[in-house]
Symmetry: C2
Subunit: 198 residues, 2 copies
């Protein structure tokens, strides 16, 4: 349209971008990944299909950007107060709150499921969301290892998965509640095996 001529076109672009993200997250939760379409997103967001295609090549690309935009920035890493157990419990309790929030649940579940089913999407999902999420735990565990709080021969990648995978599988498969009590027990039980032997 008159995009180029408008003085506030970048603000309007940002507004469209936000509307497209909101629409795609809402829709994927309602209809699932398979039935999500660019047309549907455009219609819900009140923009033209071409606006979406100008910025993203596929629905997967839109959704991944929408999701990454919405989740906490991993760049800061985990807190490091010098007390590994306290730091892990603090972050994992906050993550439990997030996972228990229906607004987060539906799109993340749809994305996890679609990713498990579609190898290309899976690689992007893993690279953009899952691996950065695991990495901050690996980094925090490595810092604890350097501080002597975790034994030198521990595989910190596997240790991170020992905390994160039970948590996320319990949520994904709905085999149990993500309570603070569960989080604390999980962290304590993982950490007691990682400490240096006296």
């Amino acid at each position: 349209m008159a995009d180029k001529a408008a003085p506030d076109s970048s603000r309007r672009s940002e507004r469209s971008r936000r509307a497209i993200f909101d629409a795609s997250l809402a829709l994927v939760g309602e209809v699932g990944y398979d039935k999500l379409t660019i047309e549907g997103i455009a219609s819900r967001a009140g923009v033209g299909k071409q606006t979406i295609y100008r910025w993203w090549p596929s629905k997967a690309a839109v959704l991944l950007d929408a999701f990454t935009d919405g989740v906490d920035d991993y760049a800061a890493g985990l807190p490091d107060t010098g007390d590994l157990a306290a730091d892990l419990k603090f972050v994992l309790r906050a993550t439990a709150d997030e996972f228990n929030d229906p607004a987060f649940q539906a799109p993340y579940r749809a994305l996890a499921v679609a990713g498990a089913n579609d190898e290309g999407l899976s690689r992007t999902f893993v690279a953009r969301l899952l691996e950065p999420g695991i990495s901050v735990y690996v980094d925090r565990l490595r810092a604890a290892q350097e501080a002597g709080e975790v034994a030198a021969d521990v595989d910190v990648r596997i240790a991170a998965e020992m905390v994160l995978s039970p948590f996320s599988q319990r949520w994904l498969m709905r085999t149990g509640e993500l309570t603070y009590d569960y989080v604390d027990t999980l962290v304590d039980q993982v950490l007691r095996g990682l400490r240096p032997r006296d």
Copy 2:
């Protein structure tokens, strides 16, 4: 048809049942759960649609029966040689072989994915396949606890998930290979936290 009159009708039923199971496992791997239909299964199995509807109410029911029929029977539980680490490694290495087999991969992944997406199917999937699989680990860990090999204050359910969830999430999300080396490190790292303190 003439089922009732035929002297070999039960053998023929068994043959149809087997063909229906094989067809549904092959098809779900090829087309995914969403596109799997009773018609498609019937056509691939060389039976009439009505034969399937006579025995099962839905494609989910067929698939779950097909899958349960194909996996090892959990009734026997895990081996108990008195060496918990050796027993867990033995079983988990065999499971890695199974998960690395393409014939097993496709239908199990389709089922896991469909289960994560569909709450009704999920409950059945969890009750019929996932929970029995976790339970045999819980039982084995409890036996080790009674034998004094695992500390009395360990939550054996969470301990079982500390072994099984990293293993299955690594497979489902394709974040790493399921090698014997991985399995052994995982088991050792979980178990060293579960032992009674001296």
